[in-house]
Symmetry: C2
Subunit: 354 residues, 2 copies
């Protein structure tokens, strides 16, 4: 991969005049394990509710930016590249950037946050506000239109549940990657399915339709070849791409596939429950209302075996006040709205002081 | 890592005269996911039982040679290097090699075998007999002194059960690596323990002593840091090295750690059972005698929580004819004895023909 250590990625700023009438902008970035999206949004006038659709000047897409998956340097290069592309496409440049919110998977600890902030500070003008969050924060905000309150459940290649109280406390569950037990994720579901094939083949587990379906999908002739296939490429997304095969087998009545999906529902429910309990989002009686934002390919609706719907059913039994939201804007817009909310709050506070 | 593509690894043959009286030799190699051992053995006279201890001229040690873990080229380089070292140390060279048995983890399919045989053929004289096997074969043979009959259970960083009938049929279970459900392995045990720490921390699982013990062992201050630690290095052996911490916690009475170890015993039992059933090693009445060879760090005896002993207890209930063997020679010697057995059989057959 090309590296942009010397800042060539920003060369467009010298070659392209800023469009007449262009105003200040906000960058919102959603960096996942499979792909990364950056959007450029104009500074919105303070209004409640927000204008809908949320205005977006430009959108750029890149690959994985989880440093745990691709490494620190590659993640940084891709982040810089996709932000530069979004700015260039919107006819703007860095001097117009009022705020940036990078919501990136793999940000699990204040040191992760600080490491990204350190280089980000060198990229943008000193008056730009910079926020670095776990990508779950953008996912929550795309359901709540920037308000950090409630719980989001993400289940795509990976999975995490993340929540905020209205007074700013936060908690998370799962999001620790495949080695550390994210069994409800797309990767988790697919790895369980691959495992079921191996176990059926070597006599440790029951016969399953997953065997012919997965081998057919991958063009392999024997389960023994699955071992080589699995370790030929360590990408988590490549494994997770088998989820639709598992869903098809479950719909066709395969018991092993059905068990895997029900186990995944239970895992996802446990993650949400852990966050809701720790934050007390459901109130002392367990019945308070809170947003429950559902994001990610595993939770997409309109399938005959609807994992997201099953999770909502379980959670609604546990917490009748949970308000399920399937967001209409994408997480990158959520990230931009988080930055915009922070800026707005700061302006209001400053107005009060003066 | 240095690459030996041009054969410099064999330069010693031009510089070192072969020792006077040096005879023909056999190379036995045991290539695991953590380390690789190659021994050089003189051709033994045909005798039953074998001389004990088995004579070994030289021994060389190297790192991982599982191509699924380190890649094809690195695995080949390490294999050539460690064989050259064993030959050089024994004062011999390739012209004296009568047979080679490479028993390497990651050999799961005839195509894996053929790929290794292809380059091995170019390394050794044309009259040398070459055998490529899964490393489980060497482990079985080190318990049975070269005879391929019975079942071996290996549980180190990885795990596999492998068996042979006296008439040459073979079967295996597990051995598919961590993504594909080798839950009874050292990696499996340690990954479950790490997962239990994350789950206790985020509220999905019960409190466990594993948290303070593992963080203490790794010098980390918070479970959040475990995520970065886990993905900083994809080596399976590094994770598996936490098994002793799990055993200590189980001995101290921690329920989560105990459950992980009992689950691992059950997984290992299932693997052995699958092989024994498929091969009919226990005979039609289920009571025939067969060797059950136990190999690998997870099964080492003399611990107060003895995983191997627990597995033997379970298997003996299933199959009273199972004869547990804890081998006294190492698997690399087993590999050499496999090669020696093959050579002996061939000579006998030729003697009959003439």
């Amino acid at each position: 991969m090309k590296r942009y250590r010397n800042g060539e990625v920003w060369d467009f700023e010298n070659q392209m005049p800023v469009a007449a009438g262009a105003g200040d902008v906000i960058l919102g970035l959603d960096g996942g394990t499979t792909s990364t999206v950056c959007i450029c949004m104009p500074i919105l006038p303070f209004s409640d509710p927000l204008p809908y659709p949320v205005p977006v000047l430009a959108r750029a897409v890149a690959g994985c930016t989880n440093h745990n998956s691709v490494g620190e340097a590659a993640a940084r290069d891709t982040l810089e590249q996709v932000m530069a592309e979004a700015l260039a496409k919107s006819g703007s440049n860095r001097s117009a950037v009022r705020a940036v919110c990078l919501a990136v998977s793999g940000v699990n600890h204040p040191t992760d946050q600080q490491r990204i902030l350190d280089w980000l500070r060198d990229v943008f003008p000193s008056n730009a506000r910079l926020y670095v969050q776990n990508d779950a924060v953008a996912a929550l905000a795309c359901g709540t239109l920037g308000k950090l309150h409630g719980c989001v459940l993400i289940a795509g290649t990976g999975t995490i549940a993340y929540g905020f109280t209205e007074d700013g406390r936060e908690a998370r569950a799962a999001g620790a990657g495949p080695t550390l037990g994210d069994w409800g994720s797309g990767y988790g579901i697919a790895a369980q399915a691959l495992t079921a094939v191996i176990r059926a083949h070597d006599g440790r587990g029951p016969h399953t339709m997953l065997m012919s379906s997965i081998l057919g999908k991958l063009g392999l002739s024997s389960p023994d070849e699955l071992i080589g296939w699995t370790y030929a490429d360590p990408s988590w997304a490549r494994i997770a791409a088998l989820v639709p095969v598992v869903v098809c087998c479950a719909i066709a009545g395969d018991e092993v596939a059905n068990k895997i999906l029900f186990d995944s529902v239970e895992e996802l429910r446990l993650s949400v429950k852990a966050v809701v309990q720790r934050l007390g989002l459901c109130g002392p009686e367990g019945k308070d209302s809170f947003p429950l934002v559902m994001v990610g390919g595993v939770l997409d609706e309109n399938k005959r075996w609807d994992i997201g719907e099953e999770v909502i059913k379980c959670i609604s039994k546990d917490y009748p006040g949970a308000v399920p939201i399937r967001p209409k804007v994408e997480p990158a817009v959520g990230a931009a709205l988080v930055a915009w909310n922070f800026c707005m709050k700061e302006s209001l506070e400053n107005a009060f002081k003066s």
